[in-house]
Point group: C2
Chain length 290, copies 2
Amino acid sequence: MDLAKLFSRLKDGEPRALARALTLVENRAPETRELLSRVFSEHQDATIVGITGPPGVGKSTLTDGLAKLARARGNKVAVLAIDPTSPFTGGALLGDRARMDAVAHDPEVFVRSMATRGHVGGLSGAAFEALVLLEAAGKDFILVETVGAGQDEVEVAAAVDVTVVVLAPGLGDQLQASKAGLMEIASLVVVNKADRVGADLLAAEVHAHTDGKAVFETVALEGKGLEPLFDAIESSRGQRRLVEAWLRNVVREMLYERISDSKWKNAVRGIEERRVTPYEAADALLKELE
Amino acid sequence: MDLAKLFSRLKDGEPRALARALTLVENRAPETRELLSRVFSEHQDATIVGITGPPGVGKSTLTDGLAKLARARGNKVAVLAIDPTSPFTGGALLGDRARMDAVAHDPEVFVRSMATRGHVGGLSGAAFEALVLLEAAGKDFILVETVGAGQDEVEVAAAVDVTVVVLAPGLGDQLQASKAGLMEIASLVVVNKADRVGADLLAAEVHAHTDGKAVFETVALEGKGLEPLFDAIESSRGQRRLVEAWLRNVVREMLYERISDSKWKNAVRGIEERRVTPYEAADALLKELE
């Protein structure tokens, strides 16, 4: 593969080059680092927005609505959908095609699904590096959609500029409970499906329980309420942490690369046979790095 | 704190000592390592069962049912509920008390909720070390309940002896979609709420789509179908990976301890100012470890 050519096409915003580069990143291909070292110096200044929340609240519809709005306002838009996925096959659950349809066939909105995989390290470098690639390809409004309330969401929230947590009325106790964990990573909270019973109450509850965090009511399916939300996203851009998240992942990946499989196995055996504690074994592994 | 005393009470299976030790582990208290180095040589051979699946399928009820059954069969039982939680307060969403009630006030079943927190590294050492403590305290049947389909579940599945994935009929497209990612970490699959319409169909679908993986139908609320599931759990115990998961976490934690905050900050600044690539920065951080 000619990386210089790929890089140059990527910079020109060619969708096929971008798709190919994202595949390299997702597969942790050896070329990835050279490509990213080039791309890195092209780093731009997109608004990166995390969209998260429990299943069934309408995150995808809201994401698509915001993507359309961003496009209408003259942005170059990308959607990165992080799917919970197989740790073994690594295949994304909702294919790019399915998502593409949802974004109203607008060829100007670049959409990509990405598997979180079973890597040590959650989103592992892949998602962060995908964001860097999307920026380098000239996208200036990037939506990252994640599902749930786990570690992946926390990592994304720590890396993006604005985190939007989406809720909806009437999802039952178990889902309501998971709000608490999500609330604290939220820059903005959305109560979607706001035409349903209980929406105002839910919005008032969230507002009260978060010391007055801004809550937006939307009906994403009908495009209602998206404009004020979009304005709030643009004005609430916080400090970017993407570089730090990326660096931590690279450090971890490099560390694991430098410890051979046989060393891991020997260390595990030593612990299992009670010859060393995990702390002694870890210390020895780190000492041997040189 | 007198660690020798705590350790001795823990070995005797005293619930208060165990609770205290788990708090130390959860808070990553400095004493943790000394305690675990002692506990470590007491490592026993419990059956550790992961219970996971999307929200609303009845995981907690099933976990409680299996706990009761394990107890009835003469096991010393513990339940560790990993809650999605605030990355900042680290508080568990469902308190131990709420869970305690659900396990039918049986004082012989030790129940603990644990927050995943916002640590780098998902479950971070805490959950793995909690399992080691529970074993050291003489528990021989340990249920670990997690929610969702993200990295946390993958990490738990990689560490426990048997992973049970719980589904239920009628949860809609979005939840059904998340099945795919969960299926591959499953040792056994349960279709709970099997008295509802669509249960047999769902079980048949799962069976067909997983190349004939064993699927058990249960109505956990009525205790139906738990006995054959329990037997299958006992006979499908796979290879334990707990030590490896624990070691990887310790290595990561030790690595991060050895890189000072100011070094991280300098490296991030260097990247942001385009003086170094993330790969060069990571390489320098690892080289400086000595």
